[in-house]
């Protein structure tokens, strides 16, 4: 019974995909991740695909799902470490990958998440001011 491990990196969650995602394992990943985001109140999810040499539309859909689910729970998703051949193939395949941010590696990915969270807090302050009407 293999599951994909989800690691905690400070305020973020890191998922490193090293095996082929097929139905059961993918659904398990979605469920586990959503649970973890909720439990930890994490603001960011990093999906490391540096070991993945083939990304087909199925995997694209799973990644898109994870991004959407996390967003609902107020977490952003960043995909890191995409291999050049995979990027070129995905563009040709026409995979949209909406709402998914990308970064070159885990470090850059975390920087990106941090910058997104800071701007979130900035916006929150403004809206609070607007909403406060005595």
């Amino acid at each position: 019974m293999d599951k994909i491990p989800i690691l905690r990196m400070g305020n973020f969650l890191l998922v490193t995909i090293q095996v082929d995602l097929y139905d059961r394992i993918a659904l398990d990943l979605e469920a586990d991740l959503v649970q973890m985001v909720n439990k930890t109140g994490s603001k960011g999810v990093l999906i490391d695909i540096s070991a993945v040499s083939i990304v087909d539309s199925f995997m694209g859909r799973i990644i898109g799902n994870i991004a959407s689910m996390s967003k609902i729970l107020d977490a952003e998703t960043v995909v890191v470490g995409m291999q050049p051949a995979v990027a070129i193939t995905l563009v040709e395949l026409g995979l949209p990958l909406k709402g998914v941010y990308t970064a070159l590696d885990v470090e850059k990915g975390m920087n990106l998440l941090r910058s997104m969270i800071v701007s979130d807090f900035g916006n929150d302050d403004e809206t609070e001011d607007d909403d406060f009407i005595p």
């Binding site: 082929d20 087909d56 539309s57 859909r61 291999q83 070129i88 193939t89 040709e92 395949l93 026409g94």
Partner: protein
Amino acid sequence: MISVTMTKPKTMILSLSKDTVQVYREQDVVLLRNRVREVAVKIKMGLVNQTKLITAASELLRNMLRYGGGGTCLIEVVTRGRDNGVRLTFQDKGPGIPDLEAAMRDGFSTGKSLGLGLPGAKRLCNEFDLKSKPGEGTTVMILKWANG
């Protein structure tokens, strides 16, 4: 001035090797990917072309498993003189595709998928052929030359 009309001779594509793989379980997907990669590497296909070929194969495989109830994949090394290539033929005895035109449209899906499988596979490869009759199953052929 003499004008000469030349008709391009149809170059014959010859099959150099054949290998059939049965695909009925999800685990077979990994097996097939590895076999295809092995063959592609043998004919010195570059990494990007390999990735495109295997991704296309992956799309068609999932289709075959999900809608066709599984089937066979014939892996061939083909040649047309100077170029070598890999030709994959997927065959299933499933319900078939009722509307081929719709199936080849981006985003069209009868399931929950993104609907990119068939048109995507076509974009990724040099040659693509789809034959399907409701009740008679589906046959999909893709071919990728080593030099793209």
